[in-house]
Symmetry: C2
Subunit: 241 residues, 2 copies
């Protein structure tokens, strides 16, 4: 069967079949984290497909953070997922498939759980890192971009202290999806340092609650911190500030 | 530059560039939900790449749930994301990139937030649907697979009632990633109906808490429900039952 441009329209089903075969091989335990897959030529022969179809399937697994591709056609299974979640969410927000309030509330959900959990599981090195981040964020000479990076790290540290990589990765993704909007919003402020007074103060409160093992307070503070900061977005039509 | 198999190793950077260009077009608002992209031939010409490179980039966007591909080389922007999140997570669990307890606690995080929120936002049609599901799950003649499907729908309904599509989609994905393990675990039980007595009872309690606008109770019940059900997995080495 050919399409109006004279192309083999069976190509898509082939690629989907190849992807399914690769999935089964992974689920069946043929490869583990860090393993190198056979070369594209051998793998295509084994799967009975063209190298073009194989490559399309490998690209999908690569985009999903499952494998790393290397020049020369060799792929390796990643030992730690590199989530494409944030960049996909960014597109979905642009397309209106999700709204900013939905995204912020998903963050609230994750981070409330993490703060409550972190109040139990946080280790001395987490507390030291919290303290270091907050001290650096309190330096009036800090550039706005660095402040924003440390802010992201502060929130990631809450989920890291809770010891859950899925929550950490999802939360990073949720944050990354609106990172550009946040940086632009900060840039548009003449008095960004004054405006972030509340942010700094609330960060310290969250840190102290986690330090004092008060999980309920930490969770409540995280909720009001995120909700207050993004109040204009949550009240309005879904745009930040 | 060629690799030992005589292939052009520039192909990967080309595909990555093409993917980045398509992303920019979407973020810039060139297409909206439901729009049809130009044919592959025209789009490849516009982007200055081969049709093979374009197709690899389109496959990635398709795998990410951003576009639908159709025979004949035309792609459309999806109006509602079809998340590949569950199937990716399933691979990541198989590869040991995440553990089952991490996944279950991410579910707890999402569903506690959703239950608390649903107690405020649930509408009459949500309550009717809850009641219908629970009544069907109380029929002793129900086959185990149907019970499991209704169970999944019950939990999805909590997040739907909270009105957050991201939380709903992430939670569905977290559940889907261990769906096969759950079905096998149920199948292995001689007395699955007896064993699910607690499940049925706890479902009714969650429903009543949401109905009575008691968000704190609903959240606490959801936490103990999921934690108790998967206790063997959470206590042990990460395997279900």
């Amino acid at each position: 069967m050919t399409d109006p441009e004279g192309l083999d329209t069976e190509q898509q089903p082939t690629q989907l079949r190849v992807l399914a075969q690769l999935r089964e091989m992974i689920l069946g335990g043929r490869w583990g984290a860090g393993d190198t897959l056979p070369g594209e030529r051998d793998l295509a022969t084994e799967l009975g497909c063209s190298r073009a179809s194989l490559r399309e399937a490998l690209r999908v697994l690569e985009a999903q953070g499952i494998i790393d591709s290397k020049p020369g056609g060799r792929s390796t299974i990643r030992s730690r997922a590199r989530s494409a979640f944030g960049s996909v969410l960014e597109l979905q927000l642009a397309l209106g498939q999700y709204t900013t309030p939905e995204l912020l509330n998903a963050r609230v959900a994750m981070e409330m759980w993490a703060a409550r959990q972190a109040a139990t599981t946080r280790r001395p090195e987490h507390l030291e890192r919290f303290h270091e981040l907050l001290t650096r964020m309190g330096d009036p000479a800090i550039p706005v971009r660095e402040f924003n990076q440390l802010d992201a790290e502060f929130h990631a540290l809450i989920t890291t202290s809770a010891g859950n990589n899925i929550v950490t990765d999802l939360n990073r993704g949720l944050r990354a999806a609106i990172e550009l909007q946040m940086v632009k919003a900060y840039d548009a402020l003449d008095d960004w340092w004054e405006s972030t007074h509340t942010v700094r103060s609330e960060h310290w409160q969250i840190y102290h609650a986690i330090e004092r093992h008060d999980g309920e307070l930490a969770a409540a503070l995280v909720r009001s911190h995120i909700t207050n900061f993004f109040k204009p977005a949550l009240d309005g039509e879904g745009r930040l500030f």
